[in-house]
Symmetry: C2
Subunit: 347 residues, 2 copies
């Protein structure tokens, strides 16, 4: 490729305070220096817009360093290696990484190699690239690892998923079906339950908001009990599911979204059942499983090609339109995950 003279990027103007004002970032064009020894030029193809972007745009603690005013905004991207002066990266390689909101980025090859959030991927010829930040992205990996590795799900088993219409839940629901399980979802509202049954083909869905006694409702819908519970919600929902677990059941503690941001935490009363039913409840972090991701991806690619997984992103054309799309992260005015098409996909 011919290296461009300049790159474009979104730069932090001021932090997000109480809601987005649409001017937190400004668009800049900056000169692109020549590659030095050991450096790699990343040509951004896709930028994924995630809830974490709002955190990164705020002044607050996170697992990554605080961005400063004047820094380029940070995001999850897929990039092609446009040029490389590092032996581990060759022109045309694809990487999934966290970098700036920029069309081109020069990075240190060693740092990229040592960064455990960065992964080389080999996109399948018949799979659209945006699937690798969508269905085949980190949310999908989490759901897969949670169900199959942590939950040790086997075909034919009865799985229950809480928050089943949420980002991770939707992936867990599809993966569990693709793995041959009998899949039930918990969600709030009739519309979400309808979606789970009609679009994701779950065996049944339970509207927890409509249930008078959720523990009882679950036992009516799944009388033989739950073998694997993929829990995104925690709290009261977990308490209602525990008595419905089978002996030797597994609870995948994916999240406790019901408990986030509340000063008063709900106390789970049914924990003694962990002993008497010999349950296993386990949390996990996808970063601990990255060495298994290539196998996971291969399986998920096959399922996607077989139509067992749906890839449904909401694509925004052009990096210059990225800031304008941020409010959708708050209002939910989109179906599917937000992805910005930057370009550079092919040479």
């Amino acid at each position: 490729m011919s290296k461009p003279d300049h790159f474009h990027a979104w730069v932090i103007d001021h932090y997000l305070k109480d809601g987005l004002d649409g001017s937190e970032l400004h668009w800049e064009s900056r000169p692109l220096p020549s590659l030095k020894d050991g450096q790699v030029l990343l040509s951004t193809c896709l930028l994924s817009l995630d809830a974490s972007n709002l955190l990164w745009l705020s002044e607050r603690e996170d697992y990554l360093p605080q961005l400063q005013i004047g820094d380029i905004m940070r995001g999850n991207i897929i990039a092609r290696v446009g040029a490389s002066c590092h032996p581990a990266f060759a022109e045309g390689d694809y990487v999934l990484t966290i970098q700036g909101w920029a069309d081109y980025t020069i990075v240190d090859g060693d740092a990229l190699l040592g960064d455990r959030i960065t992964m080389k991927i080999k996109p399948h010829a018949d799979v659209p690239l945006d699937a690798y930040v969508g269905t085949l992205g980190i949310t999908g990996w989490s759901a897969f690892i949670g169900l199959m590795k942590v939950g040790q799900l086997k075909a034919g088993e009865r799985v229950l998923i809480s928050g089943a219409a949420g980002a991770t839940g939707i992936m867990a629901a599809q993966i569990a079906k693709a793995a041959g399980a009998e899949v039930y979802g918990l969600a709030g509202g009739a519309k979400k339950c309808q979606f789970l049954k009609d679009t994701l083909h779950l065996d049944d869905a339970i509207d927890y908001k409509a249930a008078e006694n959720l523990e009882q409702t679950i036992s009516q819908v799944i009388p033989e009990g739950v073998q694997v519970f993929f829990d995104n919600v925690g709290g009261e929902i977990l308490d209602a599911v525990l008595p419905n677990m089978c002996i030797n059941g597994r609870i995948v503690a994916s999240g406790s979204v019901s408990q986030y941001g509340h000063a008063e935490q709900y106390g789970v009363k049914n924990l003694p059942l962990i002993t008497s039913k010999r349950l296993r409840m386990e949390g996990f972090l996808i970063l601990d499983y990255l060495q298994q991701i290539n196998d996971v991806l291969a399986t998920m690619e096959t399922w996607l090609l077989d139509g067992k997984l749906i890839n449904k992103n909401h694509i925004i054309q052009g990096l210059e339109n990225a800031q304008a799309a941020l409010p959708k992260l708050m209002t939910g005015g989109n179906i599917g995950k937000l992805v910005v098409y930057v370009g550079n996909e092919f040479d």
Copy 2:
């Protein structure tokens, strides 16, 4: 051996109601029939007195069938095979089993073989037989399996045990020390804590009754955090330990003694830490691990012979004195486990 004409047994006269009256059982002598094909004569050596005896003597649900008035009382025994008309049992074999409170019992060999609570044991020549219902008995197996198989404890790791001065806790504490761990105990009262430090040589013991803020006290005593928590107690104690768990820590859910027999269950608030700290919390039942017990026993025998485990039973001489010892199960007027020496140990 010469087969006796009669056997002696404790027979149920009436059920236990509100406290023992000392006449729930009566002593009977009954004729001992000849062995038929397929039958085995068990000569009882030792009878273990356990809390479960009080359940079996009551009119209530249990995992074993309800005993009837006129039935021989049931107990955990070690017996020698006195004579056998079954190919799987030879005279001189030892079995650990649940049978009647009797000096001799004729059983069906097939039933004995198929009973998963019954185990053949090969007592070590240098280990006293009563150790096999004491330190090397089922409580010890539970502690071993819980720590080593469920908890995956490795030498050098920091273990915390709740209810550390209780029957299972005492075994867990000794086994964890023998396995080379750094061992901390939670117990109620200064005297129990002193025992844990002086007699069981724990690295430290925390009196939870004396702690103003237990979560804080634990973090002061174990500032680097707990890698394996062997929990016999549950409830508030579990809530105080959760924030003190290390990343990837394991919680062995051995019991929830704090929650038994209370109408109002304590709600555990810190469960979201299971996800963020990627903890594993797991219950287990010793019966699911019986196929591994021979290896467990071999290791524990070595530890006992090396002085790493203490065997301290309270021995009562003679089956005829068994009923009189029952109240000790309620009052705790004994140090160590209650075991009745019946005889028959050697031919």
